[in-house]
């Protein structure tokens, strides 16, 4: 524990690595690739999760949905009054929204209805309501960037024709384009007046898609949720806390799959390394024999071999995470990003926020360096304990 670092030994180890050019390069490439992939996956999921968490922050604490026969149903707007009466509830707003499937482009738009005189449940919606007047004579809407592009591509430049449930067309003018707080969400979003939204989805005046409830005190969310459930047993109550947990679980699940794949490749790598290290060239054996003959102890040889393993693996690890940083945050992770963000048909062109997490770096470290070193324990030992006199004849 108290030995000074032996520079000469390190130099020798580095030299030994350079001497076995091909083997070393092979190991470095594979190792770097593995750490690169792994780190990138973690970085991407961390960033997306951060985005999503920010989204969830912006959401109301409680969402009340009516459930009938296990399926989501329109809820009565009048239920709001009873909910508002519960202590601790600061506001309850009826939401009208849904998904509109645009057949020509094969994509879904999220359609959100707002009423300008109501308090919006999201800051970004307030901005839109202030900016655009959606109560004009003709129905109008504000769309997200991705929506605008899709519509333009399908020759809808200043308005769009929605096809209503009864087959008739509803023409809605495009009043403007917006950026939401978080790009992930707003890219495929359309904001219009509640009246227009009701028209498109054929939801009557006294009904709504769901009710969002604002709670003054975070600690009381669970209690209020249970009270609402008591009032309306045929509803499902989703709290923002539930959302957060389920997001984290989904991401753990997804990254878990990749981790499983990674383990398999790591295992394969382990075996390759073991194989390559065990199959000692007579060159290497002879070199160790010489070292022992001129006075190196077994422990010295072991230490040198350990330095070799550590230098190679740590170097590759560092290289891997550096490349990953560049790939994910500078290049925005082409290809890999799509695997994780693919829950909307519209390709989100959003920027992965830079989320720096020490724990991820440690995690990747533990999944790579010690495993590599473990693979070299037995081969190094075999080499170090060779009978010197037998190899130098």
């Amino acid at each position: 524990m108290k030995n000074k670092i032996n520079i000469y030994l390190i130099e020798y180890a580095v030299n030994a690595i350079l001497r076995q050019k091909y083997k070393s390069i092979f190991i470095i490439i594979v190792f770097t690739l593995l750490t690169f992939l792994l780190t990138s996956i973690f970085f991407i999921t961390n960033s997306i999760r951060y985005e999503l968490d920010s989204t969830v922050e912006a959401l109301p604490e409680i969402v009340v949905q009516k459930i009938k026969a296990g399926r989501h149903y329109d809820i009565d707007v009048d239920d709001i009054d009873n909910i508002l009466a519960i202590a601790g509830v600061s506001d309850a707003v009826a939401r009208v929204w849904g998904y509109y499937y645009f057949e020509n482009a094969g994509v879904n738009f999220s359609v959100v209805g707002v009423d300008s005189f109501e308090e919006q449940y999201k800051g970004s919606l307030t901005n839109i309501v202030d900016k655009f007047d959606l109560n004009s004579e003709n129905s109008s809407m504000v769309v997200g960037v991705g929506v605008k592009e899709t519509m333009t591509r399908n020759y809808y430049k200043s308005y769009f024709n929605f096809i209503k449930p009864d087959g008739r067309l509803e023409k809605v003018d495009i009043a403007g384009v917006f950026d939401g707080d978080t790009q992930l969400e707003s890219n495929d979003m359309i904001v219009m007046s509640k009246k227009t939204a009701r028209e498109i989805f054929d939801i009557p005046q006294n009904k709504a898609t769901d009710i969002v409830v604002k709670v003054a005190n975070q600690e009381e969310v669970q209690t209020i949720a249970s009270k609402i459930k008591l009032l309306y047993p045929d509803t499902r109550i989703v709290t923002s806390q539930d959302l957060k947990i389920s997001y984290q679980n989904i991401f753990d699940y997804k990254s878990g799959i990749f981790l499983a794949l990674f383990i398999i490749s790591l295992f394969t790598f382990f075996i390759i390394i073991y194989d390559k290290s065990s199959g000692l060239s007579s060159e290497e054996k002879r070199e160790i024999g010489i070292l022992k003959a001129i006075g190196w102890k077994v422990d010295d040889v072991l230490k040198e071999k350990f330095y070799e393993s550590f230098i190679i693996s740590f170097f590759s690890y560092t290289l891997g995470i550096t490349l990953s940083f560049a790939y994910v945050y500078l290049l925005q992770a082409p290809i890999l990003q799509n695997i994780f963000v693919g829950y909307s048909q519209l390709k989100t062109s959003f920027e992965l926020p830079f989320v720096f997490d020490f724990q991820t770096l440690f995690l990747v470290f533990f999944l790579s360096v010690p495993i590599y070193i473990a693979a070299t324990i037995i081969p190094s030992w075999k080499v170090a304990t060779l009978e010197a006199d037998e190899v130098i004849r």
Partner: protein, 223 residues
């Protein structure tokens, strides 16, 4: 100063295949002597060298150097003994071709983590002595045969050993270099080193400064 007492060495190639390299031999070498071990390959002379260098352990018997039993030292002590007392000159030099002259020579000292200044002094004096100081940074593979030979000897000398062991040192050398080597041996002997050479090169026989020639045949000694 070197004593082999009732030494038997049996190599186990595998469970069923055993090779007896040395059979109950006894050998005494006095300090400052130069001994030549003659014999064909496989006769066991290299094994004697390994035993003296504590590179291998006998199957039975004892090796005593300077009144200290070295044959059953645990590895780290054996290595320390070797490092402090033995200079090894191999048949094919066994230098590391991709390292420089200086790096090759300091190799025995690497695990000691020596102090930089002291190390430099030691290296320079040794390189001067064997006349390769001018090539200290050249890679060994770029050196001539004679120069490599001098590096090999310098390496065996850098830790200032009492005993020099040479295993077929002239097997790959031409006449000139062989003669050269013998002259270096003469000088080493004059410095008081105890030298044991295993060889079947007739150049070594009947040399004036050789104290004893011992023939090794099938694991036994023929004086």
């Amino acid at each position: 100063m070197i004593e082999l007492k009732n030494i038997t060495k049996i190599y186990e190639v595998n469970k069923n295949n055993k090779v007896t390299a040395l059979q109950n031999i006894n050998l005494t070498i006095k300090e400052g002597e130069l001994i030549v071990l003659k014999g064909a390959s496989g006769s066991g002379k290299s094994t004697i060298l390994s035993l003296i260098a504590a590179l291998s352990k006998p199957t039975s018997g004892e090796v005593i150097v300077d009144d200290k039993q070295i044959s059953k030292l645990p590895d780290n002590f054996a290595s320390i003994y070797r490092r402090d007392n033995i200079g090894f000159i191999f048949q094919k030099y066994n230098l590391i071709p991709t390292l420089s002259v200086e790096e090759n020579i300091l190799l025995p000292l690497v695990p000691l983590n020596p102090v930089a200044d002291e190390l430099q002094e030691k290296l320079i004096s040794v390189m001067k002595k064997f006349n390769i100081l001018h090539k200290k940074d050249s890679l060994v593979r770029n050196l001539s045969g004679g120069e490599q030979q001098r590096v090999a000897i310098a390496r065996s000398y850098v830790n200032n050993p009492k005993i020099i062991i040479a295993d077929e040192p002239t097997a790959n050398l031409d006449e000139t270099l062989s003669a050269h080597f013998i002259e270096i041996l003469r000088e080493l002997k004059s410095l008081g080193k105890t030298i044991v050479v295993a060889t079947h090169d007739p150049l070594f026989f009947d040399l004036d400064f050789v104290d004893t020639e011992i023939e090794v045949h099938n694991g036994s000694l023929v004086v």
